[in-house]
Subunit: 356 residues, 2 copies
């Protein structure tokens, strides 16, 4: 009888153990799901102005002030649209136009120069509610490539238009056209001359290797509006001294730009080739959708694990359907900022989050 | 004592039940994993020559024979390379060159014409062992765009080159250049004239809508070699009567072309815009990697569920790391075929698998 009692006790304990273990497994899954299902904000907006060799000693106080003021102006513009019930796509376009028009960033005016001393711009937008998208590459005469990308999405049946053809479409749409020289800045002319001189000296050094010393400028914005719609946009001049009609990750949906109401909106910046090969923004979304990974963890998996395998540099900003945000980069710094429904603007440049 | 016995019996039964249930769950997972882990072939190759409005009544016996012979020639070429221990990338390039050189398909010679009666070609390759890739768009003078895409991957630090710049690179690499007229065929000249006439008549009808009547020609090849390396390639003239430098899914890594030794190699054909927006080939790979879905099920999820939501047409071919293959399409037909290590060549055109 004692034996039976012992056996029954063991059986009861084992049974409880298995029940608990099974329940715990299920609860952990539930909690994980629920944690990211808590609405963090009614709306929100994240921006970046490029990731790369951005460290304190490189900028004067005056330069820091200029970057801070422009990023805050962009955030305020987006906040005003979203707080008034505007669409995330409107916020994304308006914010990126401000950054394109500023000579501080590598997009629109102030973009880096090609090896032929011209400026060739790429841009993309994606609407998370419809999965519709518009992208352009090799743009030389359209003042705001981000608005052309949006026109491609809304006014054509296509997703991607390139080169002269894209500009014919822009003219048909009555977009503001400029001479390529409009985009020129003294800073970039000096930069391209330095790069070309270095290239002649070191020969066979690729544009990408040379650019490691420079920042991977690109501007991007992701937003969640009051209706729960996500949108993403990115605009860039690509890498300085580029040749051969090189296109980076920006206008590649799933690489530099992606938005999906089921998961998140993302915009990337960095060594575009590696972002294309790793399908970075779609992979972050897929990790969230298929592995139930939170946005921050998924962004780290791509930037700090998968890209790190290629020693590739860059960063990504994102906002998910509940307003959780990420600003993840493996470079020295990334011009970045965000604002949520409380209206408090956060801006940072260097690793660690500090501005100065 | 009887009560105790009953309790202990219940406890033992409950315990066994939970143990079994837990074990079953784990075993199911294991089995699922193992089922797709069974090596099906030492090597293998799948090809497509476009999906679309391909049905028996549309082709004469003579035309059918010509398609069958060309697809078999392509399969034999790939088989010869792979059976001799050649690399999957070599098989993919050689096979696609055959299809590009044939006027039967919408790639290379015989590609569809733009609205300006020119021919503009896009192509891409991806190496599943390194995740390296090369893509080109808007090519007018390079005889074999697939070889240019491979040169971009192997001889440049870039992934994507477009337009004139890509052709300057091609010339520097000593690739075979041709006049745009080399690609012209009587059939496509007649087709573009019909399309333009229809466009004038029906106005506002987009190139995409008009093309629904035509097939979405594109050629593609995916291969697994004896070393377990996967490779994918795709080449196309895009959609007939295209304007504005339109680029479809083919040169977009993760949309029309993708390869990853951890999962599979894929090449798509169809309404490219929807393949870009749904990041089709990377999503198939992600479903395999993150949801443990078999290749065929993942391909069906994209082609028959996700694309179907947009009423988008097309198909995809794929081979996974164990030699499982898919040839999935939601159109009336897809020119397609495969060969594995037994050397038996399978070729089919229409839905259901029959050739005639």
């Amino acid at each position: 009888m004692n034996e039976i009692r012992i056996v029954s006790c063991i059986a009861i304990l084992t049974s409880l153990l298995f029940m608990t273990s099974c329940e715990q497994k299920e609860k952990a899954g539930e909690l994980e799901g629920k944690a990211s299902d808590i609405k963090k904000t009614e709306f929100g907006l994240v921006i970046h102005g490029g990731a790369g060799n951005i460290y304190k000693e490189r900028y004067t106080d005056e330069q820091e002030k200029a970057y801070k003021a422009k990023l805050e102006e962009a955030l305020q513009t987006g906040y005003d649209i979203l707080s008034n019930g505007g669409a995330s796509m409107d916020a994304v376009e308006s914010v990126i136009r401000i950054l394109e028009d500023s000579p501080l960033f590598n997009a629109g005016k102030g973009a880096v120069m090609t090896s032929a001393k011209t400026i060739e711009l790429d841009a993309a937008v994606m609407d998370g509610s419809t999965l519709n998208a518009g992208t352009v590459a090799g743009i030389k005469r359209v003042k705001n490539p981000i608005s052309l990308a949006r026109a491609v999405m809304e006014k054509s049946k296509h997703v991607m238009l390139i080169g002269d053809g894209a500009e014919v479409f822009a003219e048909e749409q009555g977009m503001e056209m400029v001479d390529n020289k409009y985009f020129f800045t003294e800073k970039r002319l000096k930069e391209i001359e330095e790069l070309r001189a270095k290239e002649r000296k070191e020969k066979a050094v690729s544009a990408i290797d040379l650019n490691k010393e420079y920042k991977y400028g690109t501007v991007g914005c992701v937003a969640l509006d009051k209706n729960g719609n996500l949108a993403a946009g990115t605009s860039t001049g690509g890498i300085a001294n580029k040749k051969f009609g090189r296109v980076g990750d920006v206008p590649i949906i799933g690489a530099g730009t992606y938005a999906n109401n089921n998961t998140c909106a993302l915009s990337a910046t960095g060594q575009g080739e590696f972002f294309i090969r790793n399908v970075v923004t779609h992979d972050i979304s897929a990790l969230m959708e298929y592995k139930n990974m939170p946005l921050q963890q998924a962004a780290e998996e791509l930037i700090n694990v998968k890209l790190a395998r290629h020693e590739a540099e860059g960063g990504v900003i994102g906002i998910d359907k509940n307003g959780n945000i990420t600003m993840t980069f493996n470079t020295k710094g990334m011009f970045r900022g965000f604002v949520k429904d409380d209206g408090k603007k956060f801006v940072a440049f260097y690793s660690g989050g500090e501005i100065e």
